[in-house]
Symmetry: C2
DNA sequence: ATTCCGTCAAGAGCAGTGCTCTCGGTTTTG
DNA sequence: CAAAACCGAGAGCACTGCTCTTGACGGAAT
């Protein structure tokens, strides 16, 4: 491990500073990030930014990757903080952590889970970090079945669907009955919908006690999955 | 009813044509709609558009209202096409209609359910048409309870939440047990999440049989609500 | 120690955007 | 028929992402 040259170090610092300023602009001005504005804030000229990011989309990609990482960290940390056998507690902890992160970083959440930017195509590097929250969720089910705390119902899936869900389970390396995995994915879908509605929607402006509503809704999905109370 | 003047009629036609061209641009270029581009497509100069729409946001608002209306029509028409007592059939019909409309008009769906444009604030005119799909969904529950086909469980909601949900029910004029209404809203949230994942997400690219997956997931929510089969 | 090459910030410039204003010409209205 | 309203075109402003060129600086090899 040779020490990086001074040039490389100031360059890395520059990249970090650009990302930080861009993140700040993202929080205030939303997704239409202006390279020139970022450059102005750093006392630079717009063209200088291109020494560090070849295009605006590349800057956005860097921010997207960071956002995925931050959300994944928050979710996994919340899961790790609960007793492994408390399946329902883990479920609620993960859901609350995802919601809390989204409410704290609405612009970054919109960046990764909102409608995609038209011209922008997400590179393949994003699919792995993007799957961390759902993988954490179904991990709770996997642990529950392995520990005998969660007995999947005897239901099974009709055939075209069963293979698809089974293949998806094999992809993320969780060995669950497809029917149970499908219920877990329903919970993940519901969690995404809940957070998005709270952030983007104007529907539930009528629900002042959002924490209680959120917990109840995620609890419903825990019921659907069959998670036992602690 | 006096006949509108010729000028008023060509003006109305002009507005419609602008919206049509804008919708076409929306389908190809996404949400970043260019006034100048639609003006070019109409053989006009960009400033002429401002005779019909005071700003770009007003054009977007018009398109948003149209999209809400089209989705609401599709959903309500699908619901009306099923025997009133077939609760589960109506549920599936409404869900499928919403998904079909979204798949047929992805850009317009993104416009109304995607992440909001930063500077843009949706006017209050949008909340009524926006609530038509969820109102249709909980209308199925209302009809079911009224007809004695759907017997709500004995569950009740804890107090801060019960009042909120009850108030929401009063707002949309459906008299349902709050616990059941909450389950209906869970179904609506899930439906939105399902469609958004299919449209925006890159997660379930692994599920080739999307129709079957969609029906199964919405069926799970019908189970959660307690909708009986026909 | 000097040359040399890669890196850097800056500036000019291009094509595009939303939007405002003014200028003539047309149509409707009083 | 005249006045008022409306309409399209054009110029212009401030802004955007991005490219290209220029000149200065620094580390490294000769």
């Amino acid at each position: 491990m040779v020490a990086p040259s001074l040039r490389a170090r100031v360059r890395a610092g520059m990249i970090e500073e650009i990302k930080a300023v861009a993140r700040r602009h993202l929080a205030t001005d939303g997704a239409n990030l202006s390279l020139r504005a970022v450059a102005r804030d750093m006392g630079m000229v717009s063209s200088a930014i291109y020494r560090y990011f070849p295009s605006r989309d590349d800057l956005l990609t860097a921010l997207i990757l960071e956002a995925y990482g931050a959300l994944g960290d928050a979710v996994e940390e919340a899961d790790a903080g609960v007793d492994r056998t408390d399946l329902r507690g883990r479920w609620h902890a993960v859901c609350r952590a995802a919601r809390a992160w989204a409410l704290a970083h609405p612009a970054e959440y919109a960046l990764i889970y909102g409608s995609p930017v038209p011209g922008y195509a997400a590179p393949d590097d994003t699919v792995a970090p993007a799957s961390r929250p759902p993988v954490t969720l179904v991990g709770i089910l996997r642990d529950g079945v392995a520990a005998g705390l969660l007995t999947p119902l005897g239901e099974d899936l009709p055939e075209p669907l069963r293979s698809d869900v089974a293949a998806l389970g094999a992809l993320i390396d969780v060995d669950l009955p497809p029917a149970l995995l499908a219920r877990g994915m329903a919970g993940w879908t519901q969690l995404f919908g809940l957070i998005s509605f709270e952030l983007f929607g104007r529907i539930n402006r009528m629900l002042p006690h959002r924490d209680e509503y959120f917990d109840h809704q995620t609890g419903l999905m825990a019921d659907l999955i069959g998670l036992p109370a602690a």
